[in-house]
Symmetry: D2
Subunit: 281 residues, 4 copies
């Protein structure tokens, strides 16, 4: 982009600049790669994300890892806020896009935000050279839960299949014998928290976030600043959003097939607490 | 689901019924398949969509085809309505989800709707046994364009790479020697329209819609009614939406990296035509 | 606008045409009226809607009626789909706009759509000169409920305060002694349905829709075609949306003040009905 | 609400608590006030907002002021981000709610956020007892623009009609002879900035924000903490959003009437800057 600015190509403020794709020529290009090449080289959905989000042709071990993350996060049942709102909107008879958006709009710090939280917490502690022990102690002193640590059901003795699969993929496929320093750091933290309670494991959000950053680093395709920028722009959040869109659309189609009627919260599930007559009125 | 109703499991109207996934047990299930199986069998994103949207483990030739459709539709540049609104929202400083939804909400009949339009037009003509010639003539008599036919640039002599790739995939991978009767029908229609003008080819939307329906049929996993229901519930639209979400998120990240400022339509691009003093006021 | 086209002022397709307001000059104009005039003449919110939606300075009895409609529709409690989704999104920690939009996206035929439904049903029957008796019989023959008729609690002997107020406003303030032919027609229908059951009254949606159309007509500011166009463009729906936005924002602020935590559907409220192993898989 | 908690009325976490309205009884209640009272007392849209957002029956001088703010902010032309995205979505053929939401989602810090910014900047400086001079100097030292100060066209000698009207309303109608200490403070700041440049006036956002907070204080209906909470919950933002919804719906109806076609950014307005072959790929 800098070369464009230097060449004086950037015009008036209402002009749009776009650097990820180009539909004008003989063939549609994703980050400069013709769509036929994308298909012929079997880059997969992970390869498409590499091109459109990172403007890089990442190696296959990395694009495959992105695909696994998308698959693992595609759905987590109907009870979470986003699936719930999609279902309520579908039951109000609305179209697919409206239902999907009603659900997506719930995604943020509390629902779906664990990835960014874990990336930030582990990433900055690791970068500052804080020891795992000091990290656990300081979080405890601040009375903050460590994002990415803890599971209601899973524990050291009853591991989460997704976590096992992700860790195995990293060790078997990342370069330099499966090196992933940030993931290693988080696993050191887990060793400390699980001595306290067996369910304070590094959960699927924690593993995903740390392994994903380790992946960016191991490709050698990004400067450290570029990786920080990727994270701060919301790339991890974007993975959750792109993945879960598939699940929300599934819930929409499910309700349509079921011909579910209009939802209305049951009277018994609402506590009506109108302002008291004496409440400073 | 019927068995559930018969067993009297369906309760009060505020209860939710959900049939696509289950996050309660030892392992997350997508349509009954444990997530570890989804990964171990390398079902890919097409397999996940099969499970969460169709509640079926479709054969690999079918799930791979779904993946190709998603890849082809992931982006088509910054100028279309949806990418544009995502970009404008990103430039207003908003978060990823808000920007994505602002873009998704433009998807409908005019932008992104060609798949559903083509499925409906070719599907119903084919089902009613109308000959390709009669179909073309009757659309012309009604002064309607055939959805899925025509391209501004591509033509018989300058084929669209995506169309070529999709057709080749169908012929090489669909069962019974690449049989796809609805696609065949649409290609017969193309023969007629291209004799009129070389650019009235079956375009990428037309091929995708017809091939996708042919795919559903060739799996033998759905009754004809179930396929009609899938289409009418918006499944093809859903594929476009899920795919293009990847592109819109790419455009969001692109604008964040570029640190683009607030967009404002230039005065010269707006014609202000206030009500005339004499306009029945 | 025609004069603009004739003068050749309409340019390239990417140009925007806008006819409701103008912010370029000395003073902001709403449909040509300076904002200071809007305030000095005390046009109120109904006057602003007249200017921005209808490009007309409607008489005070009409703008006041619009204001009453907005007030009556501003909220109807937390249990309806839209308030519910706004509340769930607020509880997920999201911002005001995201929460509001998540709720608004549920508005359509089933939730909030009674106005358009009643306008369409009564309006077309009345226009075709079908007698109230024939209208009721033909709806019954088609096994369709008459939109705008019926209330769970209210009845002939226990009238709805909002309905009483609206009807009184029409009779006391509309020109020609409170003439409102479409409302009269709907009240004739009510006479028939309430002889069957006392709760089959013309409800608040029915009165609002019929009275609103009668209001458009009584202003003599619109041709019949313009009124039909207003309805078909979604004006009544727009009134509900603009009004209920106030309520949804109220629910958002309410949850923020209450510091409500993340919502998750209780396991007991979901029936998980995964595909049966034998379900054609 | 506390009394409810004490009485043990708060149940399981999936229960909703709602304190602003109640639709269950004989009459719909807004913050305990029956809807017939709302209309009979002519509380207006400002009164409805008082009840549903603040759970207070504010005095008429205050509710009228809220109404004026809503009217002034209802629209500001088609060129701003939100009206633009609403227009693009309407031109894509989408429904009213989708078009409105696509526009609303652009509202945030950069578009529409001046109210919150000004409230925060002036409010905290005033609360800390920083003199106007020190405030201007310290913002300058931090190289930050003062939100709520400055206008492209309007100046000391060419005042903005909206500002004049708002200030006059405050002086003529607020209690204690039109007392508004925060507004006074902001006007002292304006005296300093306009000696530098005549266009560095307190703009309509600055006046609105400061006067609105002064209004909350002058009612004596809120504790200082409650006012801070109102602001931090996004109440000022909510006023802009509720007001501008009217304008966006107007733009939607406008485009429908104009039968505007699908928008597509012109090729000449986009700079395609794909990743350079040599860009670390
Ligand atoms: C799963 C979870 C709810 C644990 O539930 P629980 O077993 O009921 O645990 P409790 O909340 O009772 O806490 C038990 C102890 O573990 C500690 N603990 C729990 N989660 C912790 C965490 N994430 N980090 C550090 N300590 C934690 C608690 O502080 C408490 O310690 P104490 O007894 O000394 O006070 C909790 O670990 C959690 O929320 N983790 C997820 C964090 C996360 O990734 N959130 C992102 C959400 S999108
Ligand atoms: C691509 C397209 C714009 C053609 O552009 P064009 O070359 O400028 O063609 P024109 O609009 O000038 O039409 C030329 C002739 O071809 C005919 N024609 C164009 N598209 C046609 C179609 N889809 N079906 C049938 N006839 C078509 C026109 O009727 C016209 O015939 P006439 O000369 O006898 O009147 C047009 O084919 C098209 O819009 N196709 C896409 C349809 C579609 O899939 N839309 C989905 C949008 S999401
Ligand atoms: C309020 C309402 C639910 C009535 O509830 P109810 O008292 O339980 O009435 P039921 O559904 O048991 O119907 C009782 C009888 O009244 C008839 N009836 C009910 N609503 C009717 C209507 N709107 N129009 C005509 N007949 C109606 C039913 O057909 C039934 O007749 P039957 O006994 O001969 O079969 C129903 O009138 C209704 O839904 N009205 C609202 C319509 C509307 O405006 N919808 C917009 C939604 S946004
Ligand atoms: C209107 C506005 C663009 C001024 O445009 P302009 O006349 O072109 O002014 P410039 O940007 O050239 O600045 C000229 C001088 O005024 C100063 N200035 C401009 N706006 C200022 C402000 N809001 N506060 C303090 N100083 C300001 C600049 O720092 C500059 O000083 P310098 O010459 O010593 O460097 C600017 O005042 C502004 O953006 N104000 C609005 C702030 C606001 O409310 N934003 C909310 C947006 S939702």
């Amino acid at each position: 982009f800098k070369w464009a600015q230097e060449l004086g190509l950037v015009r008036k403020p209402s002009t749009f600049i776009s650097t990820i794709s180009d539909e004008r020529g003989e063939e549609l290009l994703y980050a400069g790669v013709p769509i036929s090449e994308v298909l012929n080289q079997d880059l997969g959905i992970g390869g498409v994300i590499s091109l459109l989000w990172f403007k890089r042709s990442l190696p296959r071990w990395a694009t495959k890892f992105i695909e696994i993350l998308i698959i693992i996060m595609s759905d987590h049942g109907p009870a979470v806020s986003g699936a719930h709102n999609t279902i309520v909107t579908a039951r109000a008879g609305k179209d697919l896009v409206s239902s999907l958006c009603s659900g997506l709009l719930t995604i943020g710090d509390r629902f779906g935000g664990a990835l960014d939280g874990a990336a930030e917490a582990f990433g900055s502690a690791h970068a500052k050279g804080i020891s795992p022990r000091d990290f656990v102690d300081s979080m405890r002193a601040q009375k903050r839960l460590i994002p990415g640590i803890g599971h209601r059901v899973k524990s050291v003795d009853n591991p989460d299949a997704r976590v096992t699969l992700l860790k195995r993929y990293v060790r078997d496929n990342f370069p330099n014998g499966g090196a992933a320093p940030l993931l290693d750091y988080a696993l050191e933290v887990e060793k400390i928290t699980t001595t306290k309670r067996a369910n304070l494991i590094l959960n699927v959000d924690g593993v995903s976030a740390c392994a994903c950053i380790s992946m960016f680093r191991a490709t050698n395709a990004f400067t450290p600043d570029e990786i920080d920028e990727l994270i701060s722009c919301g790339t991890l959040n974007g993975m959750f959003v792109a993945a879960r869109s598939i699940g929300f659309i599934g819930h929409f189609l499910d309700q349509k097939r079921l011909k579910s009627g209009l939802y209305r919260t049951e009277a018994g599930d609402v506590l009506y607490a109108p302002p008291h007559p004496n409440d400073n009125m």
